[in-house]
Symmetry: C2
Subunit: 659 residues, 2 copies
């Protein structure tokens, strides 16, 4: 390693350790041990600190998000909008340098990471997006989409199942522009990886169909760079395994205590001494190091001007394609879609999953950059875009994706696709298996990505498959998640409303859809985009309000005339999306749920958990707070009280109890 | 294959297809294709249909739970308590033959399966339990614990990340009595596995450290049986890959349409013809087949009498060990633990995670069969049983487990350990990563297994690690799950109460524990086992009730005197476990939360979702309904309003709004 490379790498090590020391909190071990790896990657990446959102840039994801200071050090040194003051504010309130990298918060950070394994899977998503867009837009001599995706992982990411799921798919898909670098320091919090992780990772990735390159010495910059070059010469993804020492050069080298706690000032002093870093003052960046990074930043930004030239020529040569390219990156014109009558027309009776299938196919015609699929349940989820074929190494232009039976990786991959830009990602499975993908959905929410989750078979309507396949608590779990919209539409029209609400949102949207056929209701409309609305008003001030969602709206509408016959004035509210309803004005909410009316009954074939927000201490909930059972759906709805009779009885009891 | 074997296997195929046909629902493809595999396994297993809970039996898990009819057919034919009428009632309300196998519901079913990959991981747990108990109890000439665990998986189980996590750990742990058989029919719902799953599974499992045996022809019974014998001659786990044809012998052979829909009557007729099965009448079991299974049942039950003899001799030879053996299988004497003062004594200030560590270590002394660990966070979760060492191939007797960074597999493995019997399993990670393990926790709940989930770092008290590590919606998500107790104790004493409540429960218990120190409160006690209780009564009828959990109970107690000074009579309720509170008598609940008092304020540093059940339409929630942030914990509590001042202000506003 030459002198300036070494000094630059040591600066990253020490800057990271010092910031963590000042914060008295953080993970110094990996930034110190993996500094040469990150240095090598960034040196070889195309990116431009002056234009961090340049579309042609290579992507870098720090999957081992706890090593955040490694990324912040690089961002600072390369001249991104992360100042030395920001570095000194590591992990402090409101700083640009939070504990784990946060997309949308710190310029240059491509993905929010920390929950292990997901950064890896998001990188797979980015590589899928790149290859799909390249197939769509590139023409001979015009590789307008042409970048690599780099992901830096640690032992933790490798142990998590989600990275295995994603790696297996990446191998099948031959994502040759995906380069994963594994900082193998063989130390986790509880000690050596031998304790729980003795597998041969290289052989495992070979089995997935990856090229695997091993670098024995984590300080051998040339070998790392050489491996990065070799990675680009294959028709498959590459894993570069680099053996490193956690907290290299410090007295805590090789120790698990270096993973998640500051080294201590004395240890930093000793590390500086050992590395030959002659600057006592904390947060010192030698001038020649700044100069080196400045030179590197200029060099790595060079491809951008060439790319700008290329895009200009492309615009002339392929004006129609260029227009499409612009459209791919523009928001959807939702207004015009809402005015399109197709989205409001459904058969007399249709399962909302089937309505969703119709809408998705209509949308695919209007929005050419819809891209997604199911975790092997496409026929059940009704998510196939017809006539489009499936994305594969031989046909990367196709818009349907076979994710395989990998719900978690699927959702993380969709996050990666959205992060890449230019595409609208959706994914699908059964609602009950939202549990399998939830950690990735949480990151969609945190990153404000409008991934659409098509989750069908939304209740005991699942029927015979029984309690393992019947969601009970999933709606509550998803509704409780910040910045997430959960839509449980009553019919096709409300399903359209859900999609319209989802498209330009700054949050993910869950569509909870029925397996069974539901009647197309007269009173439903795009008003559903308000989250909750009156679909049957009472004649005068209501005596009772029935609040229902999804398949149970029909029940409420059927119960209403029975109650009215008994002289109970009944208002029926369809509440497909509580989050959107909560965001309405107080006046609007009062019109839907007048405060004075305390007799309120919620009806939803799922846990009552959370409905008391609307029904209060005096209301009642027609709900299912135990697990379901295996039987034909009709029998189950009856067994568990989802009948007109039970709704009527419950409403009467509620009204009576308030007299 | 000899005639009777073939006829027996074909009977399984046809019985399964016919039951699915009658139900007009189910998954015929795998039962038909994998019938020889299951036949071979059961033929070679030690088990006794007349005593299905015999402790020395080999375990069988159908990880591909959708092939339930395969298991029901075998249970019926072997003479378990599954009659032909039960078979005819497949997937009907209340039958013994639900859509997916359910533990505790159908005699002979060892685990509830269906959510893919988890059966495999539970089998790993069973094999861990077996080796641990064997190390503890076996003596030369007395292998009182000595059984194999068989798990039958399909392509889906192999694609799910959780099986990879569990397989990697099983390899590290050299679980040589674990035999996985992979029915590789290469067909999933969306089509050929080539579409999304082209990896080399054999090489992958080799990389994990497994023996891998491949059988090319799924109808080659001898080769399958031979592989089962070879599996027993290794010091590592074995994967037997058997290439089969989905729906073998039927016109839908090799087609994905055979996976999840009945074959159709005509196809069953044609299948019978092709297989040479000469019985037109549905649900026919030829007499010679019943005779064959009867003979097999007797043979496979033979080891039980030998084992009974062995146990008798063991009792004489090792009376103390035998007594321990009995104790391992008896409920815990919780009453006597509660009366043990050690469990009520804590320092003035202690994080509940640290209190939990103390309690766990005390319990480990009283309960020798506590067995568990963390997903690589033991130092943070404070879950190590001190002086016990770690379970490993060299020291299987040790009681701490290194699960590795594999939350999902960890929880599924704990389910397997509990299912095996004789052990109390616990596992640990951060509360926010409950999301990663939730699908297995759901199965704990469904199977009524009292797994203890030690989930620390339970709020923004996490501090600097930031929003990816700060739980918000997790408490709501877990509370909404049926048959699950979520405890968020206010101090050490309530943490003890949580453990006491958990030990003999017929449900899993989540302990949500603080990272930060909390004062040991004067008013807390084992009353916490009622879920919610008054820890500060008002002087007379209360004007306001403050309901808090965990770290926020202190806040409520501090706010009370401030409110009282202003003439507002304040009752403070500690509510560590809403599920237990809900189960109390109406009188008790009225004493804690009098209906007449509408001014109620919940205080919990997490989503308000669900708290309105107790605070109603007139109450208020001091809560956090957005994601957190990265900063020192103290700053975050202040920023998000978890201050005495805000609690006081909120209470006053609530009281005033009702005037």
């Amino acid at each position: 390693m030459n002198t300036i490379d070494k000094l630059s790498i040591d600066t990253i090590r020490i800057l990271s350790a010092e910031a963590i020391q000042k914060a008295n909190s953080g993970h110094p071990g990996m930034p110190i041990g993996a500094a040469p790896i990150a240095y090598a990657i960034w040196k070889n990446m195309n990116h431009n600190p002056k234009d961090p959102s340049w579309r042609g840039r290579d992507r870098f994801i720090l999957s081992a998000g706890h090593a955040s200071m490694l990324e912040y050090s690089l961002l600072h040194l390369y001249g991104y909008d992360v100042s030395m003051d920001d570095i000194k504010q590591f992990r402090q309130l409101g700083s640009k340098t939070p504990g784990h990298p946060e997309f949308g918060h710190t310029c240059g950070v491509e993905a929010t990471t920390g929950p292990l394994g997901q950064g890896f899977a998001m990188a797979v998503g980015m590589a899928i997006a790149e290859s799909h867009l390249a197939a769509k837009f590139n023409r001979a001599g015009f590789n307008v989409v042409d970048n690599y995706t780099y992901v830096l992982t640690g032992d933790g990411c490798m142990e998590e199942g989600v990275s295995g799921e994603a790696a297996s798919l990446a191998g099948t898909l031959k994502l040759n522009k995906l380069i994963a670098v594994y900082d193998r320091n063989r130390i986790t919090i509880e000690g050596s990886t031998d304790l729980a992780f003795s597998e041969n990772v290289a052989a495992r990735f070979g089995a997935y169909g990856w090229q695997v390159i091993t670098v024995d010495d984590g300080n051998d910059l040339d070998s790392i760079e050489n491996a990065l070059h070799l990675a680009k010469r294959q028709d498959k993804p590459t894993l570069i395994i680099v053996d490193t020492k956690i907290a290299y050069g410090s007295p805590k080298e090789g120790m698990n205590s270096a993973h998640g706690s500051p080294l201590g000032e004395e240890n930093i002093r000793l590390m500086k001494q050992k590395l030959g870093f002659d600057y006592d003052e904390p947060f010192t960046v030698p001038a020649q190091v700044y100069a080196n990074f400045s030179r590197l930043a200029e060099k790595c930004a060079e491809p951008q001007s060439a790319h700008a030239q290329l895009m200009k020529a492309y615009k002339t040569a392929f004006p129609a394609l260029y227009k499409e390219w612009e459209e791919y990156h523009a928001p959807v014109d939702v207004e015009s879609l809402i005015n399109d009558r197709e989205f409001a027309e459904f058969d007399e009776k249709v399962a909302t999953r089937a309505a969703s299938g119709k809408i998705l196919n209509l949308l695919a015609r209007h929005i050419p950059n819809m891209f997604g699929g199911s975790a092997d349940l496409a026929p059940s989820n009704v998510t196939e875009i017809k006539g489009e074929g499936y994305y594969s190494p031989d046909s990367p232009k196709n818009r349907n994706i076979h994710f395989g039976i990998r719900e978690f990786a699927m959702a993380a991959i969709c996050n990666g696709i959205m992060l890449y830009g230019g595409l609208h990602a959706y994914c699908a499975t059964f609602l009950v298996f939202a549990d399998y993908l939830k950690p990735a959905l949480r990151l969609s929410a945190l990153m404000k990505l409008p991934v659409i989750y098509v989750l069908t078979h939304d209740s005991i309507g699942v029927g015979e498959d029984g309690p393992t396949h019947q969601p009970i608590e999933q709606l509550a779990s998803l509704r409780a998640t910040p910045n997430t919209r959960v839509f449980r539409p009553a019919d096709g029209k409300e399903t359209s409303a859900a999609y319209m609400s989802a498209l330009n949102a700054d949050c993910p949207t869950v569509l909870a859809l029925s397996r069974q056929g539901l009647p197309t209701l007269e009173a439903t409309s795009f008003e559903a985009m308000r989250g909750g609305y009156v679909i049957k008003a009472a004649d005068g001030a209501p005596d009772v309000i029935l609040i229902a969602s999804g398949s149970e709206v029909e029940l409420a509408l059927k119960a209403a005339p029975v109650l009215e016959e008994k002289g109970i004035r009944t208002q029926v509210v369809s509440m497909p999306c509580t989050e959107l309803f909560d965001a309405q004005s107080d006046e609007y909410k009062e019109s839907v749920l007048p405060k004075a009316v305390r007799a309120r009954v919620s009806i939803e074939a799922a846990s009552s958990f959370g409905w008391q927000k609307y029904t209060g201490l005096d209301g009642a909930n027609v709900s299912l707070d135990t697990f379901g059972a295996s039987a034909p759906a009709g029998k189950l709805f009856e067994l568990f009280g989802f009948t007109v009779q039970n709704v009527v009885d419950t409403a009467i009891r509620t009204v009576d109890s308030l007299k």
